[in-house]
Amino acid sequence: MTMRNRSQFENQDGAIVCHGVSKWYGQVIALNNISLEISAGIVGLLGPNGAGKTTLLELLTGRLRPSRGRVRVFGMDPWTQPQVFRRVGYCPDSDGVYEKMSALEFVSLLGRLSGLSAEESHKSAVARLDLVGLSRFTHQKVGTFSKGMKQRVKLAAALVHDPDLLVLDEPLNGLDPIARIKMIRVLRELAESGMVILLSSHILAEVEALTSHIILIHHGNILAEGKIEEIRALIANQPYTYRIQTDDPRSLARALVMVPAVESVEFDLENSSLIVRTAEAAALCKAVQELVCKEGHMVTSLAPLDDSLEAVFQYLVK
């Protein structure tokens, strides 16, 4: 796989800049005054169904026009300047493909529509199909592919012209676990090569496996943006929840309730563990350390339960 030197494309503006963007349909507000900037790496766009993720992606790919505000991709307006798509690859969520074309024909054709010559397009299509693990199926009709294979052929089509920005709508939908792992690996490699990747998902674990940089969107509003841990730290009024695995939960619980930082302790005797809530994670960790060292409690694990996206998302939506 040959990668373009992406440094030449470095832009003072971000790859994606949205400023005060709103989109409404009659009285329904799909997006409400959204501003964001994405410059590098993999960014996960997260939110439940109907949150406004797809509308945002459609605005970024020039399929919709903002009702208010400004959308810029590499400094260009995707609604009026289709030439920006030389630098943007889009992999939609829908199953639509040209079913009677072979995978190679399909990807190669879209490469040519992106401005590649016939030869370049053919070479790139072969390489991209290989990258997504479809090299054995290049001459098979896309219509005969499974949902997961179609997903991969669409990714190959989005990559065929070696874009600087890859926009993916629910890219892991329909993939089996092995294909999912491969896809995640491919996306990470692409991001390491300098490609900016924006992917949407309503499955939090998918995004968590790919990136820690997220944008949480709900009811057309951006609830939070940044690293998962940073967002979690912002929720100061919500206690952290830890699971502490121990051989003697009762004894450890007695000791923990005496620690000022601990807000509550619950028993999970089935798993021989305690569920501890605290507003001060560092203080709890230090206290547990002291209980182990000074009082001889046996602790086999201490793990946060709610640092996952699911928990963060639940907190923010509440």
Binding site: Y25, G62, F85, D95, G96, L109, L110, S114, A118
Partner: protein, 268 residues
């Protein structure tokens, strides 16, 4: 990129769900010829005299009804098939923009309809002539076929563009297209004076009728004798104007319609 765009058009014209429609032209021509043969055997009409007139009547049906209907439906399919097949997103997120892919598809559809309607009128002409016993001087009036083919090619390009325009009105496009051909175009042909030029049927029939000066022909379009046709130059000029206006409207609409996955003027 141009070749790739044409390839998309070619793919759509032959492989998509509505690909059967241009192929109906030669198929219907064969059906019409079969009817003429059947009628010829059942009645003992003088075999020679009315052959050209019979051909004219059947070709008029092609010009005024069959080709317009097939072409508007096919024109609707140019955009609707991409929307319904969810493939439009691949075309419209490429640097070629929104208009060129659809223009290429329209262009290819023109070629396909042009060729197939030409084949259809040849089948019709030869079949009817042979059915009526005209063998030795089969080629005497063959120029009529040329005029009819040209008229069908011009007519199909306008009706295809009209279908593409209707396709932007969402799921009602097919109904609108059929209503236009069956009612609006028919009524416009009955309008007085210059207004009847608004009927595309009149334009195509007028182009076809240009061959009427050929020796030995009667009124070429028996079916619409009551309608006053326009001259060749007028017909060509009006056809050009109509096509330009249609594409201007299509261009403006394509630049403004939104095609989001959930709600959109063109998609819903």
């Amino acid at each position: 990129m141009i070749l790739a765009l044409l390839k998309i058009g070619w793919y759509s014209a032959w492989r998509s769900r509505k690909s059967g429609s241009p192929l109906l032209l030669p198929a219907l021509a064969l059906v019409f010829v079969a009817i003429v043969w059947a009628v010829n055997f059942s009645s003992r009409i003088h075999p020679r005299e009315p052959a050209l007139e019979i051909y004219r009547n059947w070709s008029a049906m092609f010009l005024s009804f069959i080709v317009p209907l097939l072409c508007v439906f096919s024109g609707v399919g140019i955009l609707r098939e991409e929307v319904e097949g969810k493939t439009l997103v691949f075309l419209w997120t490429r640097p070629c923009g929104r208009v060129w892919p659809l223009f290429a598809k329209w262009l290819v559809a023109n070629v396909v309809f042009g060729i197939l309607s030409g084949i259809a009128v040849i089948i019709l002409y030869v079949g009817i002539m042979l059915a009526r016993g005209v063998r030795d001087d089969l080629l005497t009036n063959f120029a009529v076929v040329g005029w009819d083919s040209a008229a069908l090619a011009v007519g199909s390009s306008i009706y295809l563009a009209l279908g593409l325009l209707f396709s932007m009105f969402g799921k009602r496009a097919m109904t609108l297209a059929a209503s236009y051909v069956i009612f609006v175009d028919f009524l416009a042909a009955l309008l007085p004076g210059e207004l009847r030029k608004l009927s595309m049927k009149i334009i195509t029939l007028s182009l076809s009728a240009s061959g009427a000066t050929l020796e030995g022909q009667r009124n070429p379009l028996h079916l619409i004798q009551h309608q006053e046709l326009v001259s060749l130059n007028e017909a060509l000029a009006t056809a050009r104007l109509l096509l330009a206006v249609l594409w201007l409207i299509i261009f403006v609409l394509l630049k403004t319609i939104e095609v989001g996955s959930e709600r959109a003027a063109g998609a819903s």
